[in-house]
C-alpha cells in the first residue's frame, strides 16, 4: 500500500475515472451520461499531465536564461490534442441528444428503450 500512497495523485484520478464510468453506466439521462464521459476523459488527461510533471519543475517554456528542471512537454502536447478531441465528441453527442429529444420526447435511456 505504500506505493499507492506515493502515487496518491494517480489513485485520485483513477477514482475520478470510476466516478465518470459509474455515471455513464448507471445513470439513465443521456446528458448525464455525457457529463460522466467528460469526467472520465478529464481524469485521464489529468493522469497523463501528471505523469509529465517533475519535482520543483516549471513550465517547459525555455527562453534564454531559464533554469530547470522543466516538466516534460510531450504529455502536454498530447493532452492539448486530447481536449480538442473530447470537445468534438461532446458536440456531436449533444446534437444527437437534441435530435433524440425532438423525435422521442425524452432523454431517459429506460424510457427510450420502450419507445424503440
Amino acid at each position: 500500500m505504500d506505493d499507492l500512497w506515493g502515487n496518491i495523485d494517480y489513485a485520485a484520478f483513477v477514482g475520478l475515472f470510476c466516478i465518470g464510468l459509474y455515471v455513464v453506466v448507471a445513470k439513465q439521462n443521456l446528458i448525464k451520461k455525457l457529463l460522466g464521459l467528460n469526467i472520465m476523459e478529464t481524469a485521464v488527461f489529468a493522469f497523463i499531465v501528471t505523469s509529465g510533471m517533475v519535482d520543483g519543475g516549471t513550465a517547459p517554456i525555455i527562453g534564454p536564461g531559464a533554469t530547470g528542471p522543466f516538466a516534460s512537454p510531450l504529455p502536454h502536447a498530447l493532452i492539448v490534442t486530447g481536449i480538442v478531441v473530447a470537445v468534438s465528441i461532446t458536440a456531436l453527442a449533444l446534437s444527437l441528444i437534441v435530435e433524440i429529444y425532438r423525435q422521442c420526447g425524452t432523454l431517459e435511456a429506460d424510457e427510450l428503450k420502450g419507445a424503440e
Binding site: 466516478i19 446528458i31 457529463l35 502536454h76 492539448v80 470537445v87
Partner: protein, 80 residues
C-alpha cells in the same frame, strides 16, 4: 505546502465529480462540471502545464459548458 495544495485540489475534484453524479438538476450538474474543469486547470497550471490549463479553461470549461447549456435549453432541465 505544495503537497497540501495538491491534496486539497484532488479532494475538491472528487467532491465535485460526486456532486455532478448526484445532482438531479442537469443545469446545476453542467455548472458544477464547468467548475470541475476550472479546478483541473488550476491543478495543471500548478504542475507546470500552462498550455494545457489554458486549453482546458477555454475548451473544457468554456465551449463544452456552453454547448451543454444550449442542449439543455432545447431539451429539458430535470433528470428523472
Amino acid at each position: 505546502m505544495s503537497q497540501a495544495f495538491d491534496l486539497v485540489m484532488l479532494a475538491l475534484l472528487i467532491a465535485m465529480a460526486l456532486a455532478v453524479a448526484r445532482s438531479k438538476d442537469l443545469l446545476a450538474a453542467a455548472i458544477i462540471f464547468s467548475g470541475y474543469s476550472l479546478v483541473m486547470c488550476l491543478l495543471w497550471q500548478h504542475r507546470g502545464a500552462p498550455d494545457v490549463a489554458m486549453t482546458e479553461a477555454a475548451i473544457g470549461a468554456g465551449v463544452t459548458t456552453i454547448l451543454v447549456l444550449l442542449a439543455i435549453g432545447r431539451t429539458r432541465r430535470r433528470e428523472k
